[in-house]
C-alpha cells in the first residue's frame, strides 16, 4: 500500500515503531544511526546462546528497515542526510527535533523538498513544560494514569507488559505521517511538520479514570483481578486444569444460567442451581454471597481444561475466554490460519524467530515479509 513511499528514520528507541509500522505497509524505510549505532541496541534482552550486535528488543522494532551510519556532527554526514531528505516523503525523528539542533530545521528541509513530511515522536508536547524529557517508557506510563489502575491494591502500581507508551506513541507517529500524507495529496502537494507527544498518546489510552474524576470526583483504585460493580467485586481470572480462563459473575442472566446448566450436568452446581438468576442483581449481592458462589464455580472450573471451557462457551455464547500464554499464542491455530506469525530469517546473525506479521488483512496487498534489522557498520 505504501510501496511508493520513502521514509528516513532517526529514532533511537522512541519512534522506531513508527518506522516498523510504515515498513510493514510496504514503505521503503532507511534507518540512520550515528557512529557506534543506536544506544538502544544495548538496551533490553540479549540472546542467551549467542553474542549479537543488538538486543532482541532492538531487532524486533527495527526489522524491515535498511540502515546507514552517518556522523551528523560532520559536514559529510549533514550533506548526505540533506541529499536523502531531498528525495524522501517522510522523515521520522524520535525523542525530539535533533536535526533542528544540527541546523537543519524544517524550513531548510522543505525548501529543498516541499513535499517532505517531518514527524517528531517526542516524550512530551512541544508547547508544554517537559518537551524532550528526560523520560522512559516507565515514567510515561506512570504519569499517564494507567499504572494507577494496574496491579493489586496492597502492592505497588504496575506497568503493562512490554513498552506500551512507546508502542502507543509509535502508532500515533504512523497516524500523524499518514494523515499528513493525505493532506499533502488533497491540497497543494506540500508536506508539513507534526509533533507527537508520547505522554498524550498514553493518557488517551487510559480513557476512563480522568473523566470519572471530572464528572464524579471519584479517584480510581487498583482492584487486582476483581471487577468492581456496585457493592461487590467479582473474579475475572480462574485457575483451570491446565492454566487459566477469564469469566465473571456479572449481570447477564443468560450467561450465568448457561454456565450453571453445564455445571448441573456434571452434578457440580450445588447451591448455584437454587438461585433465581433472572431476579438477582449481582452488583448488589453481598460480597460473602458472591464469594460462596465463586467457590463452587472454582471447584468445577478446576476439573476442566481451558480448551474444553472455551469450546463450550463458544457453542453456548457464555462469554468465557481461555487465557493464552505467549507460548499458546505462538502455536494457536487461529493465528496460524491468518498467517499472523512471520518467520524472521536473519542469516547474517544466524537467527530464526517468529515476529508479529501484518497489522491487518486486506484485499489490496499481500503481507510484507520482514527483513532483518540493519547492522551499524559504516
Amino acid at each position: 500500500m505504501l510501496s511508493h513511499i520513502k521514509v528516513v528514520e532517526l529514532a533511537d528507541g522512541l519512534g522506531a515503531y513508527t518506522g516498523r509500522i510504515l515498513a510493514s505497509l510496504g514503505a521503503e524505510v532507511t534507518k540512520i544511526e550515528g557512529p557506534g549505532g543506536d544506544t538502544s541496541r544495548r538496551r533490553g534482552r540479549t540472546a542467551k546462546a549467542k553474542s549479537l550486535d543488538a538486543s532482541l528488543d532492538w531487532l524486533a522494532w527495527n526489522a524491515g528497515k535498511t540502515g546507514e551510519v552517518l556522523d551528523l556532527s560532520a559536514d559529510s554526514g549533514l550533506q548526505r542526510i540533506r541529499a536523502m531528505l531531498a528525495e524522501a516523503d517522510i522523515l521520522i525523528q524520535g525523542g525530539g527535533d535533533g536535526l533542528q539542533a544540527a541546523g537543519l530545521d524544517y524550513e531548510v528541509l522543505s525548501r529543498a523538498n516541499p513535499g517532505l513530511i517531518s514527524v517528531i515522536v517526542a516524550p512530551f508536547s512541544e508547547a508544554g513544560r517537559y518537551g524532550e524529557g528526560p523520560a522512559t517508557d516507565l515514567t510515561l506510563m506512570a504519569m499517564s494514569g494507567i499504572m494507577n489502575m494496574v496491579g493489586d491494591p496492597d502492592r505497588p502500581p504496575l506497568k503493562l507488559p512490554g513498552e506500551q507508551a512507546y508502542a502507543l506513541a509509535g502508532i500515533q507517529g504512523a497516524i500523524a505521517a499518514l494523515t499528513a500524507l493525505n493532506a499533502r495529496a488533497a491540497n497543494d502537494g506540500r508536506g508539513e511538520r507534526v509533533w507527537v507527544s508520547a505522554y498524550q498518546a498514553a493518557v488517551l489510552a487510559g480513557y476512563r479514570d480522568p473523566i470519572v474524576w471530572e464528572w464524579t470526583g471519584r479517584i480510581g483504585q487498583r482492584t487486582g483481578n476483581r471487577l468492581v460493580r456496585g457493592k461487590s467485586g467479582v473474579r475475572q481470572v480462574w485457575p483451570v486444569a491446565d492454566g487459566y480462563v477469564t469469566w465473571s459473575l456479572v449481570d447477564n442472566p443468560g450467561m450465568v444460567k448457561g454456565m450453571v446448566a453445564l455445571m448441573a450436568a456434571d452434578g457440580a452446581a450445588g447451591a448455584l442451581a437454587q438461585v433465581d438468576w433472572d431476579n438477582t442483581l449481582l452488583a448488589d449481592a453481598p460480597q460473602e454471597e458472591i464469594n460462596a458462589w465463586e467457590a463452587i464455580l472454582e471447584a468445577w472450573f478446576r476439573t476442566k481444561t481451558k480448551g474444553e471451557l472455551a469450546r463450550l462457551s463458544a457453542e453456548r455464547g457464555l462469554g468465557l475466554s481461555q487465557i493464552d500464554t505467549p507460548a499458546d499464542a505462538l502455536c494457536s491455530p487461529q493465528w496460524a490460519a491468518r498467517g499472523f506469525w512471520q518467520i524472521l530469517e536473519d542469516d547474517g546473525r544466524r537467527l530464526t524467530a517468529p515476529l508479529p506479521g501484518p497489522l491487518f488483512r486486506t484485499t489490496a496487498m499481500d503481507p510484507v515479509a520482514p527483513t532483518p534489522a540493519p547492522t551499524a557498520e559504516a
Binding site: M1, L2, R43, D57, A60, Y106, S125, G128, P134, L138, T139, A142, M143, G145, N148, P156, L158, L160, P161, G162, A167, L168, I171, I175, L178, A180, L181, N182, A183, A186, E192, R193, V194, S197, Q200, V203, A205, G206, Y207, R208, W213, G220, N225, Q236, P239, V245, T246, G317, G319, S321, D324, P326, P333, A337, R338, P356, L359, F360, R361, A364
Partner: protein, 401 residues
C-alpha cells in the same frame, strides 16, 4: 487552516470502543463521519458511565462523548428493509465504511462486501472484530477482556509468579482502533494512486500481540521468561516505582544511561551505594533488591510531584504515578491543549481529549459528540438530497429510529 482530512466521507456503523475510537481520530482531523445508530440497539457506549449529574441518559455519557467527538448521528432501524435502503444510500455516499458487527450480520442484511462493492466500486471497508474475520475463532464475540486473554497480554501482566492479571480497562479497545485508523489512511493513499478500494480486516488480538513484538521475539529465541512481568527492565536499573508521601502515592524512576545514575547516586548520598558493584548497570541488576530498598528509604516521605520535578531537572527520567485527578489537572496537558472545552447540548461545557499531535499546516478541531439521531435531517436531506417529507415519514414509521 484546513483539516488534513477535509472532504473524506465515512459511514460509521461501529459501536462501543473498538471502531468509534478510530473514527474519532478521523473526525478530529476534518473527516465527515456519519455515525449510524439505532434506538432499537443503543450503542452500549451511550449506556457507559460516568454520566452528567449521575443520570443514566443516552445523551449524557461522558464516555460516549469523548469517544465520538465531531461526528454526525443518524438513527436507522436496520431490521426494516427501508432502513437497509437508507444504509445503502450512505454506503454509496461514503469513501470509507467502518463496522464491528458480529460476523455475518451485514451479509444477512444484503450488505456483504460484494454487495457493497456493487454499490460503490472503490469503497474502503474496515471491519474490527475480536479474532479477525477468518480462522477457527472468527465467530467469537467480544466480551471485555477477550483480546487481553488471547494475546498473551493478560498472562504477561502482573507480578512474576502470580496468576494472569486483568486490570479494569479494555486495552484491546484502544490499540485495535489505532490500527484501524492507520488502515483507513493507508487505504486512502492507495486508492488515490490506483483507484482501487479494499476490504480491511482488523483483529483486536493481533494489534496487542504486535505491540509485544519485543517480548515475542525474545520468547522465540530464549524461551519463556517470567522476568518480563512486574516493573523491572531487562538491562537497566534502577527501574521501578518507589513509595512517596501519602496513601498509595508513588514515583517512577528509571536510569537508562550512566550519567543519569551518577546524578541520582550523588543526590541520594547513601553510603550503601558507594559499593563499586553499583557502578555499572549489570552490577545494579545483580543487586536490584538492595538498590530498590535504598531508593525506597530515600523516596518515602517525599512528595511524588516535587520529587519527579527535581529528578527531571537533573536529567534523571522520573514521573509521578498519577491518578485520574492528577492527569485531568496536569499543567503539561493544559499547555499542550490536550483537553478542548466544547459546549454539548446535554453535558454543557465539557473537556474532550484531542489527538496527541500538532500539525504545522493542518487544523485539528474537536467538536461535541452528537445527540442520538441529531443529524437525521442534515444527513438525509441536506447531504444526500432526499425529500424532507420522506424523512419525516420514515421517522414517524420507525424506520429512521
Amino acid at each position: 487552516m484546513p483539516g488534513a482530512l477535509d472532504g473524506v466521507k465515512i459511514a460509521d456503523f461501529s459501536w462501543v470502543g473498538a471502531g468509534p475510537r478510530a473514527t474519532k481520530d478521523l473526525a478530529d482531523n476534518g473527516a465527515l463521519v456519519v455515525k449510524i445508530e439505532s434506538r432499537k440497539r443503543l450503542d452500549l457506549g451511550r449506556l457507559s458511565p460516568p454520566f452528567k449529574d449521575g443520570k443514566r441518559d443516552p445523551d449524557g455519557s461522558a464516555f460516549f462523548a469523548q469517544t465520538n467527538t465531531g461526528k454526525l448521528s443518524v438513527t436507522i432501524n436496520l431490521g426494516e428493509p427501508r432502513g437497509v435502503t437508507m444504509a445503502r444510500a450512505l454506503i454509496a455516499w461514503a469513501d470509507v465504511v467502518v463496522e464491528n458487527f458480529g460476523k455475518g450480520f451485514l451479509d444477512r442484511l444484503g450488505l456483504s462486501w460484494d454487495e457493497m462493492k456493487a454499490i460503490k466500486p472503490d469503497l474502503i471497508l474496515v471491519s474490527v472484530s475480536v479474532a479477525g474475520r477468518t480462522g477457527p475463532l472468527s465467530d467469537i464475540r467480544g466480551y471485555g477482556n477477550s483480546a487481553a486473554a488471547l494475546s498473551g497480554q493478560a498472562a504477561l501482566s502482573g507480578w512474576a509468579g502470580s496468576p494472569p492479571h486483568m486490570p479494569p480497562f479494555a486495552y484491546g479497545d484502544v490499540v485495535a482502533p489505532m490500527f484501524a485508523t492507520v488502515a483507513v489512511l493507508a487505504a486512502l493513499e492507495h486508492r488515490r494512486r490506483t483507484g482501487e478500494g479494499q476490504r480491511i480486516d482488523v483483529s483486536q488480538v493481533e494489534p496487542l500481540m504486535h505491540t509485544l513484538s519485543d517480548i515475542f521475539l525474545a520468547h522465540g529465541v530464549n524461551g519463556p521468561d517470567e522476568a518480563v512481568r512486574g516493573n523491572r527492565h531487562p538491562s537497566s536499573a534502577p527501574h521501578g516505582v518507589y513509595p512517596c508521601r501519602g496513601h498509595d502515592q508513588w514515583c517512577a524512576i528509571a536510569c537508562e544511561a550512566e550519567s543519569q545514575w551518577t546524578a541520582l547516586r550523588a543526590l541520594i548520598g547513601d553510603p550503601r551505594l558507594d559499593d563499586p558493584g553499583f557502578s555499572d548497570a549489570p552490577g545494579r541488576k545483580a543487586r536490584e533488591d538492595l538498590l530498590d530498598a535504598v531508593l525506597s528509604d530515600w523516596t518515602a516521605g517525599q512528595d511524588k510531584h516535587e520529587l519527579a520535578s527535581r529528578l527531571r531537572a537533573l536529567g534523571v527520567p522520573a514521573g509521578a504515578v498519577q491518578d485520574g485527578r492528577d492527569v485531568f489537572t496536569d499543567p503539561e496537558l493544559s499547555a499542550a491543549g490536550h483537553y478542548v472545552r466544547v459546549e454539548h447540548p446535554t453535558m454543557g461545557a465539557s473537556d474532550m481529549p484531542a489527538p496527541p499531535m500538532r500539525f504545522s499546516r493542518s487544523k485539528i478541531e474537536v467538536r461535541p459528540a452528537p445527540l442520538l439521531g441529531q443529524h437525521n435531517r442534515a444527513v438525509f436531506v441536506d447531504l444526500l438530497g432526499l425529500p424532507e417529507s420522506e424523512i419525516v415519514g420514515l421517522e414517524a414509521e420507525g424506520v429512521l429510529a
